[in-house]
């Protein structure tokens, strides 16, 4: 058990080092995120200029929501997706397969490494953002902070598994571009990264309630702003957790199919 933890932790440690080796890319990524969200921020502030209350969302709460959403959308970055698809395309995946390490767990560990080193910088950027825009809505007690941290872990797990499954699809498509656009489009829309889910029409909201995307942005951001608590929170956590389990096994399944494909057509 300890050996296993050490084995996967080493993947995480190396991934952290790798992001640090790309100092410029690292900073440019964060910068582009900040630019995107500056735009989004101004769009929303224009929406709020005419009416201070949008279906129960005050501008103050919205500011916090947007910042947390920025943080979460940047956490599991595209580097993970690119890594998997690159390995498939170049055939370098053979090298990793011939070691006694589980590919899915190793990929998860590596993504965690990317997220930790990128997360620190993004968190700093977000704090700066909060300071400049005067976002004041934050969790009021330790329990909420704790629930927020748990929800962030759920968010990362869900997003990683989606990236992993979509990344594996490169086994069939050889190119990642289309697949990646599809995944990002779905995620941005259904996770609440663009528009808080509470502002969706009710039928659409019912649908998103049962989809896994919600856990990526909406749940943690709403826990953070104090909108999600009690029974609704328990329900959302339960659904998110079930999805993580389902996606984990879906990852296994897609992996098996991908391996069969390699078997038939050659590496």
């Amino acid at each position: 058990m300890r050996a296993a933890l050490k084995k996967y932790w080493r993947h995480t440690a190396l991934a952290m080092q790798e992001t640090l080796a790309y100092r410029v890319t690292y900073i440019v990524n964060v910068f582009s995120m900040v630019v995107t969200y500056t735009v989004i921020f101004f769009v929303w502030s224009a929406v709020y200029a005419g009416n201070p209350d949008l279906d129960g969302y005050q501008w103050q709460e919205m500011k916090s929501y947007l910042i947390v959403s920025l943080f979460l959308s940047s956490l599991v970055s595209m580097s993970s997706e690119f890594r998997i698809s690159r390995q498939i395309r170049t055939g370098n995946i053979a090298v990793e397969l011939l070691r006694p390490a589980d590919y899915q767990k190793a990929s998860l560990s590596i993504t965690l490494g990317y997220s930790i080193s990128e997360g620190v910088l993004i968190a700093i950027a977000c704090l700066g953002f909060a300071f400049i825009t005067g976002a004041t809505v934050i969790p009021q007690n330790a329990l909420t902070w704790l629930l927020f941290i748990v929800s962030v872990l759920f968010s990362m797990a869900t997003k990683f598994l989606m990236v992993y499954v979509f990344g594996l699809v490169s086994f069939w498509t050889t190119s990642l571009m289309g697949i990646s656009w599809l995944r990002r489009g779905l995620t941005d829309f259904f996770s609440g990264a663009l528009i808080p889910l509470a502002l969706f029409p009710s039928t659409l909201r019912t649908i998103t309630d049962w989809l896994p995307f919600k856990a990526i942005v909406w749940i943690p951001a709403s826990v953070f702003t104090g909108r999600l608590y009690g029974r609704a929170l328990t329900r959302d956590f339960a659904v998110a957790f079930i999805w993580i389990v389902v996606l984990w096994f879906l990852g296994r399944l897609v992996w098996k199919a991908a391996m069969r494909k390699v078997t038939i057509q050659g590496g």
Partner: protein, 340 residues
């Protein structure tokens, strides 16, 4: 007991059949048609612990496919494999613990971080005990001269340095069997030499079983005591390298200098059953002949019918020619077919 055992191993790929042009592509899109290509068929291999085996064959003969199946990366279409008593495909994770692999065209190194970090990664992946890890690392670094670039990132290494690092990584966890697919491809003579020395030493001192594919005949002669030749998916020779050479002593090459035109001479005797003119010029000719059928004197007598032999020289067969002859089916090796 054999450490590598393959019985009736075969691999069939499906290959898309597309007609030319847009219409063909469209047709394939709607109703794909595949043909089966037999990459490897009915291969039997049995390799004992401590053996060093060269697995050779022309491009596309099925070498890499066999290696991919033996290492557990590809699932065989038929037949059985046991490596250390395990099925490498179905018990992949367990099997890889005792196995090392180097694909000459790929690397295990993390591209952007120091080489030494890739070693710590493998230390933790294979759970190598700290003391053993230290010993092995020191030993491998010394043998392969890794120290100068342990701190550089892999992307800054030369091909030779990268290959040496990859070899060290493959042997780090004391594997009992190591597969090397073209380990010396693209390397200069000095590095190749160093790698060969390393392989011989590790085989001698640790008894590691080595199976390597290579187009470099020095690799084969220097490192391996057994030769397996595959062509078009089937094994056409399996035996001692020396035995093959001995057998091939029957074909010798004679270089003649003539007073007459060599090409005319070549034309005249070219149809003779037991010899072949391999080169000819205005006043010279090189002839390969079966020494059991013809003697050197016979050749000279033949030559003297068109002109006069001024000088001659006889070459004993070199390994390159021998193997080429095996590929081309010119050699009678039926005695060794299927030999284990």
């Amino acid at each position: 007991m054999a450490i590598i055992e393959a019985k009736g191993l075969s691999k069939t790929y499906q290959n898309a059949v597309k007609e030319a042009g847009l219409a063909g592509a469209l047709k394939h899109f709607i109703k794909p048609v595949f043909t089966e290509i037999k990459a490897v068929s009915d291969v039997h291999l049995s390799i004992n612990p401590g053996e060093t085996v060269a697995y050779v064959g022309p491009n596309g003969a099925g070498k890499s496919t066999t290696i991919k199946m033996l290492t557990g990366f590809l699932k065989p279409s038929g037949g059985q494999i046991k490596i250390n008593g395990m099925d490498p495909y179905h018990q992949r994770l367990e099997n890889t613990k005792h196995m090392g692999v180097v694909f000459g065209q790929r690397t295990q190194l993390w591209w952007d971080i120091p080489v030494s970090e890739s070693f710590t990664l493998l230390r933790d992946i294979y759970a190598i005990p700290p003391k053993r890890y230290k010993e092995n690392l020191a030993w491998l670094s010394e043998m392969l001269g890794l120290t100068p670039f342990m701190g550089s990132s892999a992307r800054k290494l030369s091909l030779g340095q990268r290959m040496r690092a990859d070899l060290a990584l493959a042997f780090l966890h004391d594997p009992s069997v190591v597969f090397l697919d073209e380990p010396t491809i693209g390397l200069d003579v000095a590095v190749r030499e160093r790698i060969r020395e390393f392989l011989k030493k590790i085989n001698r001192e640790r008894g590691t079983t080595i199976l390597l594919t290579s187009h470099d005949l020095d690799d084969i002669r220097d490192v391996c005591d057994r030769l397996v030749v595959i062509d078009r998916g089937t094994i056409i020779y399996d035996g001692k390298l020396q035995a093959l050479l001995d057998q091939c002593v029957r074909c010798r090459t004679m270089h003649l200098r003539l007073t007459s035109d060599g090409e005319e001479f070549a034309k005249k005797i070219g149809k003779h059953a037991n010899l072949e003119v391999i080169a000819s010029g205005p006043s010279e000719a090189s002839i390969e002949f079966d020494r059991f059928a013809l003697s050197a004197k016979d050749i000279i007598n033949l030559a003297n019918t068109t002109g006069e032999v001024i000088d001659f020289r006889i070459d004993e067969p070199d390994i390159e020619r021998v193997i080429k002859n095996v590929y081309e089916g010119k050699l009678d090796i039926s005695g060794n077919r299927g030999h284990v």
